[in-house]
Each structure stands twice: as C-alpha cells, then as structure tokens.
Assembly symmetry: C3
Homo-oligomer: 362 residues x 3
C-alpha cells in the first residue's frame, strides 16, 4: 500500500531505479533483468503488496523481512550480507547505501506520476491586480486574489483561494496549496512549499502600555516584513509574523510542520527543522541544522547556536551556547501515582531544607 | 438566555418534549396540560428567563434551583423526590433519567428551528469541475472550489469558500462550515461536521537527511491519504495530515476540538474525544473511547489501548497498555514560591544521592 | 531599517513630532530647527540608518547609543541628563517621558503613510446578501461572502476572502484582514483588528454521553454567540468558540496573539493581553488587565481575578484569587542531565517517605 499506477503504466524495476541514477545515487539489483517485475507503488514492509517496492531503513524492522510480500526491498550492503542467499527470500534485493533516501526519490517519482500537471495561466475566477506580474508558466488557481505589484515567478503553482498581498515576491517553482495568505511585502524563495491555511506576514504582537488610560495598550505598528529563503516548506495553519522594524527571516532549507507560531523578528538558520505545535517567541534566533520537537516552546530574545536539538514538549527559557540535545518534559504517570509525586514538587524547597539540616547533623 | 423563538413560534412544553419521545427518551411532566407554558428557549439555571427551560445535571448546581426563573427544569427522579411538593417551586419539573441528554435533544431542536434550511444546489460563484459529482440535494456555498472527480453525497452542506480537492469523497449529510480545505483523495464519512479553517490531507512532515549537502533534507512525498469515518466532528483550524504510505484514519464517532494536530499515519479509535490544542505525533495509535485533555501532547509511534484518559497538559512519551487515567502536569505556584521549588528540580539527582548516603549511615 | 518614505515625502523631524503633540504627548528636541533632518523611517539603535529615528526604551540597550547611526533618538530626561553634551553625540536627542509610546505613535504614522487607502465599496467579485447592510464608507474585498442580515458599519475594511455569517454585526472602523471567518450572529466592536485565518463563533466542544450506544457522544448544539468589545485585536489563526447557552465574551481592549484557543463561555476582562499558542478551556473567566504568556494553558471553569500575570508555558489548573505573577514551567537541561533528574521526579513521594522516616530517627 499504496498502489499508485496501474499495470500498464508501471515501470520495470530497473527503469524505475534510473530515477536514482539521475540524482547520482547508486543502487544494485540482485536479480537478472529478465526476472525484474513492474513496480506499481511503494509500501511498508508490513503492508506492501506483490507489485510494490519496500525498504528497510530502521534496523528494528529487520525481522519484517521474513514476512514481507513486497516485490523488491531497498536495503544496505550490511543487511544484504547478513541475509541468506537471494534464492531463499521472496523479494528482490536492491542494495544501496541510503535506503531511506532512495525511498524518498522513488516516492517523489510516484507522486509526480499520479499528479496531473498544473495548467499554466490564471483561472478566470481569480482577481489579479493590473500591475501584478505573473510569469506565463505559473499557474494561479480559482478564487485567488493577487494584489498590486505582486511578482510570481516561472513555474510557481498558486492553489485555489490564496490571497497574495501587495508587493509580495515568490521565486521560481514554489507551490502554494489552497487558501494560503501572504500579507503585503512578504518574500518567498524558490522551490518552496506552503500548505493550506498558513498565514505569513501578519502583525507581530507588540503593544506599548498607554499611560493615558489605565491598563490600555497602544499598538506598535509592525513595519518589518518576512523573508523566506529557498527550499523552505511551511505546514498547514502555521503562522509567521512580520517584524516590528527588521524582518522575520527563515534561511534556506528550513522545514516547518503544521500549526507552528513564529513570532516577529525571529531568525531561523539554514536546514533547521521544527515539528508541529511549536511556538517561538519574539526576537529569538535559532542556528542552522537545529531540530525542535513537537509542542516545544521557546521564550523570546534567546540565542540558540547551530546544531541544537530540542526534545518535544520542552520549554526553552534561556539561550543555548553549546550544540547538543536539550530536554525538559515532566514524566507522566498513572493519575493517583502522579498525584503523590506532584504534591511533593510543590514542597521541594522545604524538603531540601529538611535534608540539608538532617544530613548536616549526621 | 438565550431566547430562540418568538412567542408565536414557541411550542408548548408537552409538544416540545415529543422531540425526546421520538428518540425513545422518556420524560414526565409534573403539571397539568392546561398549566403548561410555551417554551421560547433554553438557559442555565442562573440565566434562564421565565419563557425558557433549564436543566440540573451536575449536583453541585442543585442550590440554584431555589432561585432559577426558568419556566421548567429537567431533573432526575432522585432530585425530584428530594424536592418539596411541586406547588412550592416556581418551575415545572420535567423528570427524566438523563437530564443532560434531554437538554442536548432540545438544544438540537431549537438550533434547527432557528437555522434557515440550506438551499440545495451550487452557488453560481462556485467553481466546480465538470467531472465532479454533486448530489442534487446537496448545497455548495459561494466561492467554493470543487475539483475533478470529487463526489459529494446527498444532503451535504458545503459552506462558502471551501476547497475540495481531486477525488475527494464526502458521504451523506455531512456539513462543512466556511473555508474548509480537503486535499486530493481525502474521504469523509456520513453525518460529519467540519469547522472553518480545518485542513485535512496536507503532507505529513517527513524528510530524509540528504547526504549530498550538509544538513539538508530531502522531502518524503506523502503517498497515503486520510480516511474519516461516520459521525466525526472536527474543530476549527484543526489539521490532519495524509499518511506517508498507509492512510491516517479516524474511526466512527471521533470528536476533535479546535487547533488539534493529527500527524501522518495516526489511527484514532471509535468515539475517542480530543480537546483543543492537542498534538498527536506521527504513527501513534489511540484506542476507542479514549479522552485526551486540552493541550496534551502524544509522542510518535506510541500505542494507547482503549479507554485511556489523558489529563490536560500531559506529555505522553510512552505507550499505554492499561485503561485508566494518566497525568503529568507540573503544579504551578505564585512566582517566587515556584522559583524556589524549580531550582530544586534541577538538582534532584544530587539530592537523591545525598539522601541515600545519609539514610544509609543511619 | 526600515526606510519607509523616499526623500521627497519624508517629513522634517519637527513636523513628524507633531503626530505626538496631536495626541497630547510632549517631546523636546535638542537641536536648532535649521539643523533638523528629514526622517524617512524608524529603526532599532543597532540597525537604523542616517535618515531614520530610533529610540531607547530598555536601559539594557543604552550602550548602543555610542554606535548608532540614527539621525535622532527618542530618550527619557534621565538618559539625556546622563549623556555628555549634545555636540558629542552623532544623533539629535528627542527627550520625552515615554520613548516607547512615542515610537508607537511614529510607527503608526509611518505605517499609515505607506499603506494605500482602502477604496470604499464592495468588490464586484464579492457575494453579498440582498439584506446585508454595508455602510457606503466601508470596503469589502474580493471574493468575500457576506450573508443575510449582516451589518458592517462605517469605515470598516473587510479583506479579501472573508466570510461574514448571518446576522453578524461589525462596528465602526474595524479591520478584518484576508480570510477571516465570522459565524452567524457574532458581534464585533469598533476599531478592532482581526488577522487572517481567525475563526470566531465555531461550535464549542460539548457532548453528552449517549447511553443508547456504548461510548457514543451526542452533540450539544451551541446556542450562544460571541460578543467582542471595542479596540480588540485578534491574531492570525486564533479561534474563539460560541457559547453553549450564554455567549463567549471579550471586553474592550483585549489583545489576543496568534493561534490562541478561546473555548465556549470564556469571559476575558478589559485590556487583558494573551500571547500566542495559549489555550483557555470552557467557562473560565479571566479578569481585567491580566497577561498570559505564550503556550500557557488554563483549565475550564476557573476564575482569575484582575491583574494576574501567568508566565509562558504554565498550566493553570485552579482558580487564582490574588493578583500577582504565577509560574509553573519545569526547567529544561542538557539531555543526560535531565534524564537523571526526571527519573527522580517519578519517585518523589517515596523519596519524601524515606526522608521523613530518616529525619524522624535523628
């Protein structure tokens, strides 16, 4: 699961693997060409059917090799060497250094094969400002709104119902799924992917106490923008606010999952990946090649160096100057057990006092 | 509060209660028919006016019976027996085994009474592919986009501005409020309710490290889909990602609140209810009849059996094999008090060492 | 950064400061009129260029005064007195009691100067019910849907793709950015700002156990509405659910950041500000002038008095009767260090027992 192509359109295994060759990724097939099957899709070892290819990337699934129905399996030379002679396995082995990367290349190929090409041009129901510039090779979906001065480059695909503000620029081959909102002046790099419901460039949350009325707030207009590099993916319903004065910035290759909040003036370094439901407060800077686990939260005005890895659910409340993994999630337990421990947490400082005075008297 | 119908359209109490009878739910009214008032709406004991019906479901509100202005009150036989003779209360008693369920039945009736029937047919501003199939009894709102091969069954109501992707299927009597997005291939069961801003079927968050460029990620195309059963409700701005290979699945009767994130390959069992702001990471399976409190988070690749109840704010980081209630939220406190205790948390392992060595010497 | 106006349209410093005078906020410039520059924009001390004005509000940035390239700097009399004579600084000093408020006033002026005036009237692509009432001075963007009986007052600006339900009222000069959804019956006050993707008035999450089918839920129709006061700002993708019977209410001057969840029946007092990713569960009441830090969560049915300040990430699980600051976030640490401490947390109650018995024997 899933079968993507019918029997007639499915490529023979060796033809399919040319997809990898074209990317400079080598694979070796342990079977004669005459024995090679057509491949209709890709599946997990547990669920692939006899017309699909599968892969073994995580060693903990190795035992599933014995039972898989897959026609062929991507695996490393080490796994291959440890297996019995090929005649004793029901699948053809495709040996490669990075099975997970080969799987990714093949999945992309199947995805493209099943997806109809977007038709270039602007759907007649879209509302496009006279002075917006849309490359003739780009596609703009139904019910879109493209405002004054926006520039959409070659090969872009703008899904139905998107709203692209004044002066926005979107570089080549970027895809926006349905109902994305880009506020005025936002810039997006090349080859990006932005999922539905994402909102980029809304006002940062900034207010000055207004001494003229008790408790009242005076809005700080947000004059900066949002600049997003190349090869960035942004998940569904994620929000990235515009900067107060300077711009909020995502470097090349950043990957954001769904429902993430990136506040004003945040800077995220190249190739950093952030899982869903993370909140990053204002003016925090995250280095390159970091990962942030789901539902983690970062306070404002922090600096995280490159190669920092934050575990899911962790509240990061201070800057991090050293690469490494950081965690701070409280262990859960069966409720009555938790109650007993949680009660002690509220008394820890007294408890420590008691210990100190007791151990001192020993 | 609130009064729903004007005096002319309001039903007499006994007529109104036929709504319950029709559902097989019995009620007994402690008053003569000639004394029965018209009922214009439903309210809490505290705020119902003299033309409204109220209910007592939670015993902790029982003292409010003395002061309610409601015309009638739904209550259990036990409460009724404990009250003084009916002549001494200002309201008519409607005795029933489940007052909360009766309230729900009546609220649904009033809601239907105030809501104009959707007009069947497709709004002229909607953009519908030639080969989409929309049942003539369904209603498609203004500015919708329905793509190729989508199938919308009888009685469905698609709100304004929805985007329904290629090959989507929606079964009978399902309601989509405004601006819902269903990506290509998603399937939705019968009698569902999906609120505005929900995004179903966006790509799961999957990347392979790309060894050809330091730190770079290679996208894993998400070839699975999302399958949603019957009688499922999905809240505003909730996101449910499509599976990587197999499909993300919600069984019948699942209820999701707002701003929930369901990652790729997640399976949720029948009648499980999840409160707002919960994140469920990839490939986790939740059993039937579970409840998950608000802002809880579940790590990926976990298994939760049936009848598990997670308290709000709890981070579930391991599988749960036994039904029951589980909790893990750190107690908050006045800030300076908290500072003292939090400081100890960072030293707990040293503290334990000290205790062990001290108690050993006793 | 950023320069907002070109040289020709930039006001001279003294003309610009009349913006503050008009609001009753006094400033004093330490230079002769003949020496005053034109001001093209506003920047931080670190990034302002020689045609921009900057400000010093937080004393910790005072050392940046030595190196700023700004043409002029807003600062307090205290800071001014502590500086050397004006001839020795490269910038003109603008002395004022509240530099941050003056900055806010000037930022608003520049923002208005760069933003084209919305054109009054309804865009031809919008779909507006015959009996909706839209003031002629209001502007309704492309692809909007305005349903029956909605009322949009003078000076409102409704962005592209908004959906305004039946009977909604929006008071004067309120701005909705693109793709906001207001469900039937919601009311919004004057001078509000609502950002893209916000959903106001979706159903609260209420279900009765349905004894007629094991584990099944029966929906509680949500008959209340949402009432929002004047001068309220609501962030991108924030959701505010309608009340079950009474209405969910936000008082005047409330400020909500992005991705906040306000459940049914919640009441929020005047001028309370809530940072991003906060969840507030059903029927909780928050007082006036409170602040809630990012990613905090409040359980249902709580009461928080006025002037309560909740730190980011804190789970508030009980009512708060005393003004002050409250915190409850578990300290994070380098992963292996955290593992050692987290293990102890699960054993705290046994540890306490051990301490008690040991210290008793001393």
């Amino acid at each position: 699961m899933p079968v993507i192509l019918d029997d007639i359109h499915a490529p023979r295994l060796d033809e399919l693997l040319k997809v990898c060759e074209a990317q400079g990724v080598t694979t070796t097939v342990t079977a004669r060409t005459s024995e090679l099957p057509s491949i209709q899709g890709l599946g997990t070892l547990a669920h692939a059917g006899p017309s699909e290819i599968s892969f073994l990337s995580n060693p903990k699934y190795q035992s599933q090799l014995a039972h898989t129905r897959a026609a062929a399996v991507l695996l490393t030379p080490e796994v291959n060497d440890a297996l019995p002679a090929s005649s004793t396995t029901g699948f053809i082995r495709v040996v490669c250094a990075q099975p997970y990367l080969v799987y990714a290349l093949l999945a992309r190929w199947f995805d493209a094969a099943r997806t109809p090409r977007a038709v270039a041009g602007v759907h007649p129901s879209a509302v496009v400002a006279d002075d917006a510039h849309i490359d003739p090779s780009a596609s703009v979906g139904a019910q879109c709104v493209i405002e004054s001065g926006a520039r959409i480059a070659a090969g872009c695909r703008i899904g139905p119902g998107c709203v692209i503000g004044r002066g926005v620029t979107i570089d080549t081959d970027t895809v926006l799924y349905a109902r994305v909102t880009l506020y005025d002046g936002v810039s997006i790099g090349a080859r990006g992917i932005i999922h539905s419901g994402a909102v980029i460039g809304a006002d940062g949350f900034g207010f000055a106490p207004d001494p003229r009325a008790q408790g009242a707030w005076f809005k700080i207009s947000q004059l900066g923008s949002v600049n997003i590099g190349n090869d960035v993916e942004i998940g569904a319903n994620t929000t990235i606010d515009r900067g107060a004065l300077d711009s909020t910035t995502l470097a090349d290759g950043v990957k954001l999952d769904n429902q993430i909040m990136v506040a004003h003036n945040v800077q995220i370094g190249a190739h950093t990946a952030v899982a869903a439901c993370v909140g990053i407060a204002g003016s925090t800077t995250i280095g390159a090649r970091c990962t942030v686990g789901g539902a983690a939260m970062l306070s404002g005005h922090l600096q995280l160096v490159d190669d920092v890895h934050i575990s899911g659910g962790t509240a990061v409340t201070s800057s991090i100057n050293k690469p490494g993994r950081y965690t701070g999630v409280y262990p859960y337990a069966e409720h009555t057990q938790w109650q007993k421990n949680a009660a002690v947490v509220s008394q820890l400082s007294q408890l420590r006092k008691r210990i100190r005075s007791a151990t001192r008297t020993d």
